[in-house]
């Protein structure tokens, strides 16, 4: 077990930020912590890193209790903060070397590690650049280089793609998967469900400081009734259409989103055909048609009754 968190409670006055939160990270896993802003993801990470005091609970990393002076544990952890944590006065190389030097004292070894990290994040041509000369995406990559240069066994990434362009985002996600392939266990927090679905082998969905669901993405999706979402463009949407659709077998819900009829269907086959035949039979004109499996947002929506991005 890489991380084991049991019954973690953290209060800010009357506000409960973590409410008996539990978490396990197994070796070689990419664990996603998914939840809306304010759900307690970053607080959980800060408690795990022993940066924040907590009111109750146990945290173990690599089988040992975590504490601020557990230097042997900290040596194998890499942290990539939500905010870019680099010094404006140091170049790309110097920043990476500075933070790597907090873990690795051997200069020769460190030089090789720093070069490798800079190459890994694709900043080889920017070694002598100061952070203010870098774009947002490159800055995020530097932030990652500073966190992984010492080759940690456990890497914690706290929303590393916030405010990053799609190209840099893909680059970062690919990099995380490469780090995982190289042997690092990873905790990845985000409120972007697509990212979490893309790279995480297991996911914990959080809300109000609690774990509301945990498992692989397929396990999570199988927890909900709706297994298919059918979207149809209807030219004359009205309440009658909805009433008709809702009366069909296997239909869990039907709503209009503008001219788009969104129908959620339960387990069963030919849901799409059934809906289209009903529309034809009732002379309802329709255009584009989509069918898709449920997303993590649907999982979140069904469990909490609200959108993940609220």
């Amino acid at each position: 077990m890489v991380i084991k968190v049991e019954n973690l409670v953290k209060r800010y006055g009357d506000l409960i930020a973590l409410d008996h939160f539990n978490m396990e990270l197994h070796e070689g896993e990419v664990l996603g912590l998914l939840g809306p802003n304010g759900s307690g993801k970053t607080t959980a990470i800060n408690c795990i890193l022993s940066l924040l005091k907590y009111d109750k609970g146990n945290i173990e990393i690599f089988g040992k209790p975590m504490s601020p002076d557990a230097y042997d544990i900290k040596r194998d952890i890499g942290i990539i903060m939500q905010n870019v944590a680099v010094f404006e006065e140091l170049t790309v190389y110097e920043n990476t070397d500075y933070f790597c030097g907090l873990y690795v004292t051997d200069k020769k070894k460190r030089r090789a590690l720093v070069d490798e990290a800079i190459e890994f994040v694709g900043l080889k041509d920017f070694k002598k650049f100061y952070p203010k000369k870098l774009s947002g995406g490159l800055l995020r990559r530097l932030n990652i280089a500073c966190g992984i240069a010492h080759k940690p066994k456990l890497i914690i990434l706290d929303e590393p793609t916030v405010a990053v362009d799609p190209q840099s985002r893909n680059n970062i996600l690919e990099g995380i998967l490469r780090l995982n392939k190289e042997g690092a266990s990873i905790v990845y927090t985000s409120h972007y469900m697509e990212e979490v679905e893309q790279i995480c082998s297991r996911i914990i969905i959080m809300d109000k400081g609690k774990t509301i669901a945990a498992g692989t993405k397929d396990e999570l999706k199988s927890m909900i009734k709706a297994v298919e979402k059918v979207t149809v463009e209807v030219y004359q949407p009205n309440e009658g259409v909805l009433t008709g659709i809702r009366s069909l077998n296997n239909v869990i819900s039907a709503e209009f989103d503008g001219e788009m009829l969104v129908v959620k269907c339960g387990k069963g086959s030919h849901n799409l055909m059934m809906i289209l035949e009903h529309l034809k039979a009732n002379d309802i004109l329709f255009g584009k048609v989509y069918s898709e499996p449920p997303t993590l947002n649907d999982v979140f929506l069904e469990i909490t009754g609200k959108e993940l991005r609220d």
């Binding site: 800060n46 022993s50 903060m81 004292t105």
Partner: protein
């Protein structure tokens, strides 16, 4: 690890142009402005010989004693003389006075008389000289008439002797200069500007103040070691800056720091440590934004400087007379007063007291910072 953090923090400090401006260039610019302002004041105090004329008539030519007296005060002695005298006819003297080329003219005619055009300091000096001469001459005439033997016993020399019992001199044998105090408070203020570096260093290692600090806290680095390395880097940079400012004041502006420069440098170093630790102290205690902390440091340092007499030298006296304790609680005053003590007093008692209080302040600031820093987990980030 210590050297690694120290060297990188030093790099960060040296490359922070904004703080380098405030700690190095701002005091230098202010010193240049002080020099421009105060050089005029001191120029105004330089004594210039007074231009007078004497009517060269029969009565004057007969008065040998008066001629000798005038000669004595118009001949350069020790590089200065009281009067620049022209000898001319009465008409010429009148014209010279009318044209403003002389401050007054003296003529002998049934006594010694003075004609002046205006009333002012120079005219008062001429009149004082004449009064003094006439009083001395009358005394001698009386003595000669009533007790001629006394003249044989050197009485003339005694009466004519002018002796100053007071002389303005610095006990440290430095040349007395009243404006140095402004430069001393300026240098003291520059020492306290080291607080900006202190703030910066706390910001860089405190997990609840910056993301960089959180990263340092998450690393397997002893926080106290990181703090010691950062503090040393800040003190090194600020000490170098203060020495540059000190050298600029001495060699470029000619500010006199007396002849005990080793003590002056020691004061600068202790002042620097006090300044840097003051910054760490303010930074560690306040949970406000960095901007508010910088504002607090600027505001308090300016207040300390004002109370130490940087803007008005009388303030120091007011504080000393009314609330002397405030002088001892004001680090800028302690630093400036240490320079002052080295300049004006030959002993080191006053200086040592100031320096010890300053060092104690630095220890208190550092200790409080240390105690708060020792806490390794935060209630919030």
């Amino acid at each position: 690890m210590f050297a690694h953090i120290y060297l990188y923090r030093l790099k960060c400090i040296v490359r922070d142009k904004q703080v380098v401006f405030w700690t190095l260039l701002f005091p230098i610019l202010l010193a240049v402005l002080f020099e421009m302002a105060f050089s005029n004041i001191t120029k105004g105090e330089v004594f210039k010989e007074i231009k007078i004329a004497v009517v060269d008539n029969e009565a004057f030519r007969k008065d040998i004693h008066f001629q000798e007296a005038l000669k004595a005060v118009s001949t350069e002695a020790d590089g200065s003389r009281l009067f620049d005298i022209r000898y001319a006819s009465k008409e010429d003297c009148i014209n010279l006075l009318k044209d403003g080329e002389i401050e007054g003219y003296i003529y002998c005619e049934n006594g010694i008389h003075l004609e002046i055009k205006n009333n002012g300091l120079n005219e008062t000096i001429i009149k004082s000289f004449l009064d003094d001469y006439q009083q001395t001459a009358a005394t001698l005439q009386t003595v000669m008439a009533q007790n001629p033997e006394a003249m044989q016993k050197g009485l003339i020399d005694e009466i004519a002797k002018r002796k100053d019992y007071l002389k303005e001199v610095a006990a440290s044998h430095s040349e007395p200069d009243t404006v140095v105090h402004y430069f001393y408070t300026l240098l003291a203020m520059a020492c306290m500007y080291g607080s900006f570096w202190g703030l910066k260093e706390i910001y860089a290692i405190q997990g609840n103040q910056s993301a960089q600090g959180a990263r340092v806290c998450a690393a397997p680095t002893q926080k106290m070691r990181a703090f010691a390395a950062s503090l040393l880097a800040a003190v090194t940079a600020q000490a170098a800056i203060i020495l540059i400012v000190l050298l600029f004041l001495i060699f470029a502006l000619g500010v006199d720091f007396g002849n005990r420069l080793a003590y002056v440098v020691l004061t600068c170093l202790v002042g620097t440590v006090a300044g840097v630790t003051y910054g760490t102290f303010i930074s560690i205690l306040s949970h406000k934004s960095e901007g508010i902390k910088v504002g607090t440091l600027i505001g308090t340092t300016m207040l300390f400087s004002f109370l130490a007499g940087m803007m008005y030298d009388g303030m120091k006296l007011i504080i000393n007379n009314n609330v002397p304790i405030l002088g001892y609680l004001n680090p800028v005053n302690l630093i400036a007063d240490s320079f002052y003590a080295l300049y004006f007093y030959s002993g080191t008692t006053h200086y040592s007291l100031n320096l010890m209080i300053l060092a104690a302040m630095a220890v208190v600031f550092g200790l409080i910072t240390f105690l708060v820093l020792r806490r390794q987990k935060y209630a919030s980030l």
